[in-house]
């Protein structure tokens, strides 16, 4: 059994370790120096918990954390709090995303406490896309905090046991704090400094935007290493398969912040099976970025191609034989099941006989 599982209850937090801020699996994996893999759960448009479990089951045994997105692209879906509530129940390690677009500081601080109480160990602080990008552009954009002040708010709650107002918390939320980076958008020379700012505000790990331009990312990482930032924070590179050249072109012109070089589109276009090529491209990029110094893991965003995550992770060999957690039955579960079965059979239990049997039970 892996050391990252609570032997009593997989959904319970792990034992605290020195130097760890959270009691979750992801932080342990990263701090041990292992190459971490995270993935993004496509949030369902339904009120059925089974939909969430089905979508999470695809990642079983392949990822160390599952991102529960907070209305990504400003499109309405099941909330990240709800998804996290369901996932933590089953023992998964969700990374709860909080976007500043929809909630003000009062709601956010309340959600952080609630999430931590449910067993969420990782929180990712984002600014969020503008409302105009989504399916309800008439919504009021909130943006009360920005990602930086959100990071700082959660850090203050965790480290100082205080709300932003200074009011005391009786139990602080023990969470591992994450943020997002996008090295592929201007102003390019400010981007590494912005990461430094995020680290100062409290980021302990970062996940990047889709990386399709490895030379550009290498350049960014060089600057990051010069600033010594890779030692203060775990950097996970965002990767993902492209379904076709057409999709890539659409994403490039319609989704803000994703930079796809022409060479990538050309490669996809030239392929016989574009879907297969997209997957291969993703594996190639993983193999390239994993060698860059300072990269601690990958974040696989396979939107609507979640079934390929296992294959991509397997073929790139980044786990090096390590098997991340997957839901498994514990010995106690079997005992309970057996007992329930026994009761169902309607066998009458005689207390005296049972005591007799126990007394003569050979030890």
């Amino acid at each position: 059994m892996s050391p990252d599982i609570n032997p009593l209850d997989p959904s319970a937090p792990l034992d605290p370790l020195p130097g760890h801020t959270s009691r979750g699996r992801l932080e342990r994996v990263l701090r041990r120096g292992e190459f971490a893999v995270t993935a993004e759960l496509n949030p369902p448009d339904s009120a059925n918990p089974q939909d969430v479990y089905e979508r999470a089951a695809i990642f079983d045994g392949w990822v160390d954390g599952i991102n529960a997105v907070d209305a990504s692209g400003a499109n309405c879906h099941m909330s990240s709090v709800g998804i996290c509530a369901l996932l933590t129940r089953m023992g998964y390690a969700p990374i709860m995303q909080i976007a500043c677009r929809d909630k003000n500081r009062i709601a956010i601080q309340g959600d952080v406490l609630g999430a931590s109480a449910m067993g969420v160990q990782n929180i990712m602080c984002l600014t969020g896309d503008g409302v105009q990008a989504g399916d309800q552009p008439g919504a009021k954009p909130v943006f009360d905090l920005d990602c930086m002040s959100l990071l700082e708010t959660v850090r203050i709650m965790r480290d100082n046991s205080k709300f932003l107002s200074g009011r005391k918390l009786t139990t602080p939320p023990q969470v591992f704090l994450g943020a997002a980076i996008n090295p592929f958008a201007p102003p390019y020379d400010f981007r590494p400094y912005r990461l430094a700012k995020k680290i100062e505000a409290g980021a302990q790990f970062v996940q990047s935007q889709y990386c399709f331009d490895v030379p550009m990312f290498r350049e960014y990482m060089k600057k990051v290493r010069d600033l010594g930032l890779h030692e203060k924070c775990f950097i996970l590179v965002g990767v993902g398969p492209m379904a076709s050249a057409k999709t890539a072109r659409w994403i490039r012109s319609n989704v803000p912040g994703i930079h796809i070089p022409d060479s990538v589109i050309k490669r996809l276009e030239g392929a016989q099976d574009q879907k297969e090529e997209g997957k291969q491209l993703c594996i190639d990029i993983i193999n390239e970025v994993k060698e860059i110094e300072g990269v601690s893991g990958v974040h696989v965003m396979a939107y609507r191609q979640e079934e390929y995550v296992a294959e991509i992770v397997h073929e790139s060999g980044v786990l090096k034989g390590r098997r991340p957690w997957k839901p498994e039955t514990t010995p106690t579960d079997a005992l309970v099941a057996e007992r329930l079965e026994h009761l169902r059979e309607g066998v009458e239990e005689n207390q005296q006989q049972m005591a007799e049997a126990a007394a003569h039970h050979p030890h």
């Binding site: 500043c100 677009r101 500081r105 600014t127 969020g128 896309d129 503008g130 409302v131 105009q132 990008a133 989504g134 552009p137 008439g138 919504a139 009021k140 954009p141 943006f143 009360d144 905090l145 920005d146 990602c147 930086m148 002040s149 700082e152 708010t153 932003l164 997002a180 980076i181 996008n182 958008a185 201007p186 102003p187 020379d189 400010f190 400094y193 912005r194 430094a196 700012k197 100062e200 505000a201 935007q209 012109s253 319609n254 803000p256 912040g257 930079h259």
Partner: protein
């Protein structure tokens, strides 16, 4: 296009769409009264001069502290706010958040960002340096980074800004900064006298 002049202004989604820019739903979440960025961009280009000028100006305001005190900060609040709104409104498209961060943001007002980011650009900045939400507006933070490069204390852009205190909106940050500086000065004086 025959007319090389790019159509500016935010409340013209149809024209915006015609330029081929990204216009998701023909809606701008934060409609703007201003539609020209010329003066704003001038301020960023001349951020070093404006920084120098502001330092002189802040000193002047501080020397006038006894006057403000005699008149009462509450009583001068309204006229000073009026002047501040119009001067900074013209120069920076000021949004009167009441807690000015211009000297930390390269003289580019961060409240003009549709997401009102005060700590740096979001990940959605277009390759041409324009805003994700307002395709015809140069990203406030791309400008801020440029402006801060010219400034003596440009490194202030690295400071993590606190969340905006919404209760200070529409108040004068000049007076607040002056009052705070005066309080600090008095405290320091008391310290030395002891």
């Amino acid at each position: 296009m025959s007319d090389p002049k790019v159509v500016t202004g935010n409340a013209q989604p149809a024209k915006k769409a015609a330029t081929g820019a990204y216009t998701p739903a023909n809606v701008s979440p934060s409609r703007r009264a201003r539609h020209k960025y010329t003066v704003r961009l001038w301020a960023v280009r001349n951020s070093r001069f404006l920084e120098w000028f502001y330092n002189r100006f802040a000193d002047l305001f501080l020397t006038l502290h006894p006057l403000w005190n005699a008149l009462g900060y509450n009583r001068v609040e309204r006229p000073v706010t009026f002047i501040e709104r119009h001067v900074k409104g013209f120069l920076f498209d000021c949004r009167m958040c009441g807690q000015c961060a211009l000297s930390s943001t390269g003289m580019s007002c961060p409240m003009n960002c549709p997401k009102q980011l005060r700590n740096g650009p979001c990940g959605g900045v277009r390759a041409n340096g324009h805003c994700e939400v307002e395709p015809d507006m140069p990203c406030v933070w791309v400008q801020a980074w440029k402006g801060s490069q010219n400034m003596v204390k440009g490194d202030a852009i690295m400071n993590v800004q606190k969340p905006v205190n919404q209760s200070l909106r529409e108040t004068s940050s000049w007076l607040r900064v002056t009052a705070e500086a005066a309080a600090r000065r008095d405290a320091a004086r008391k310290e030395t006298q002891r």
